[in-house]
Symmetry: C2
Subunit: 350 residues, 2 copies
Amino acid sequence: MPRRSEPGKRPTLADVAERAGVSAMTVSRVIAGNYPVAPPTRSKVLRAMRDLDYVVNAHARALAGATTKTVALVLDDATGPFFAFIARGVEQQAASEGRLCLLCTTHGDPERELAVVELLREQRAEAVILVGGAQDTDTYTERMASFARALDKSGSRLVLCGRPSPGPDVPATVVEYDNEGGAYAMTAYLLANGHRRIAYVGREPGLSTTDERVRGYRRAHADHGVAVDEGLIRPGTFTRESGAAATEALWDERGDATAVFAATDMVAAGVLKALRGRGVRVPEDVSVVGFDDIPLASDLTPALTTVHVPHEQLGREAVRLALHRGPDLDDRVVLGTHIVVRDSAAPLRP
Amino acid sequence: MPRRSEPGKRPTLADVAERAGVSAMTVSRVIAGNYPVAPPTRSKVLRAMRDLDYVVNAHARALAGATTKTVALVLDDATGPFFAFIARGVEQQAASEGRLCLLCTTHGDPERELAVVELLREQRAEAVILVGGAQDTDTYTERMASFARALDKSGSRLVLCGRPSPGPDVPATVVEYDNEGGAYAMTAYLLANGHRRIAYVGREPGLSTTDERVRGYRRAHADHGVAVDEGLIRPGTFTRESGAAATEALWDERGDATAVFAATDMVAAGVLKALRGRGVRVPEDVSVVGFDDIPLASDLTPALTTVHVPHEQLGREAVRLALHRGPDLDDRVVLGTHIVVRDSAAPLRP
DNA sequence: TGCCGAATCGTTACCGGAATCGGTCGGTCA
DNA sequence: TGACCGACCGATTCCGGTAACGATTCGGCA
């Protein structure tokens, strides 16, 4: 028998069905829209739905076998310089595919990352998108592989976004961008402008991102027949302070670099600050370039020449690939990067 | 009879129960932990859960009457200058209260906002947090009231964050910050520094935020016995370009302002750029101040003196208030603002 | 007139947990 | 010694949908 609508409760399918004088199944079909329902019946149902202010229960629907229509985005910290752009890409693509987006943060804590993944297993999200963040590479691969398998068992797809692939035979999707190519192009640009002593500032040890960028830096040197001066590759973290400190140290030690390739735009901001403090003019005396193309880059003085990373597209692709997977679609995509020329780099002056 | 665990399926409560040799209810109690279970029984159950790699189904749980443990955050655009900070506050507080966070964006489109609210009604989110964004004030109040009532019927609480209250008798929670007070303090600061002709740049018509700030601006003038020169209050939107354009127009028309109060930091960036273009020195010739205290503020040259808005706390309070409501807790909270003195404002020089 | 298939709609059986209810068992207290 | 209490556990029902299958109606056509 159809459940009568008690006053305090939210209306259910059965309530709508009763009011419309049809069965619950018919109401369900009207909502789904993928099954023929006679027009008069349909309008009766729609009317009842409106009268009762009925809304489906997403959880009941999810439980009954339909998909959850949910993707989850996991990032270090929502306030990171470019996470917002990835989030926008993810949210937009998710919305356009009729999905809702769950947001979690880990603050770079692997333990919390694990807890979050467990939480998302409970949620049965269709995709779990892990974004960026520093990784200790020794356990990274197996951690990701374990996440991928666990999520797979719960019916979710793991997507690694801007993170290295955990290797083959792991049920995960990877969306990366061309770190090496970007660094190569930028280094080649500086070399073509006559620079020969190009410092690389902010090499964070054990971070694949850094390794790839340095690889591009080296390859560009090799292709231009220029030997890399190892003393110009300076370690550091991806912060403004680190960029400033590394620059101070470099100039204290030797002041002969004519260009500085900062590991990130944030590092470049620190580099610029340190150089300004020393009275070094940019780009007249020294050229400075960055990587990422965050909004800050165009706000700096001088506006920063940098490598553009398609953050928003990264997020979009992550959702797209996770949702429609097939034999024709690849499990790994590498998005292109390109340099953006602004005012902080100039040809070498004799 | 307990359902036997078919190979392909995810394990359920019944599977765990069967393996542990107890009833499903007992397993449920072990998980909930709020009901006595004999230690041997408990460990048997825990073991079975581990063996089967069991995870609860959040949707089944939500359906069975427990709460959804979910809050929803709705904002214009994740890449806005301070939305990320609100998002961080919301996510952190949600996480610390054991809730998951749904993220939706509207791109300032009221129609999409409505669609999003409907979607969230289906999700039965415990709280729906609407953040900032431009509002056409004529229909705003009734729209919010309608949202509040609709969500209330679906068991969700509407939270307006940084938005004006829709009035009493509406089942909504409001978390605001002191726009008028911040503008008052900043204007008073400039007046105390000897400035008498203080331009207000970026009054966006029909936006309550603007109205409140201008009110503080006026009140400070009145309290200091200084007449407001209406010609110094300039309209505009909250963008860099608008700030630059308004400054150009103002200086073309009259160049006698000794200080500029920009409606937002972003506007201030435009003001600074326009002044720099005209060779006007900041703060030697003209003082410039902003509102919001976004990261950009400290990156500008000179670093911007501005009004700090506690964005992160705003998000945190939104979740906190929505979750534990009671007769002792208020439905409306106004967070304080305060000025942050940096380098862009100086005493008036004779 | 009678058969057949398409169009519609209802019935039944879950989905995976939580809550209610009731019952067993060991021990306390008068 | 018997009433009573609290810890502990299981059967049952319900939550609000969906999928699969069955039933019914009706027009076309032989």
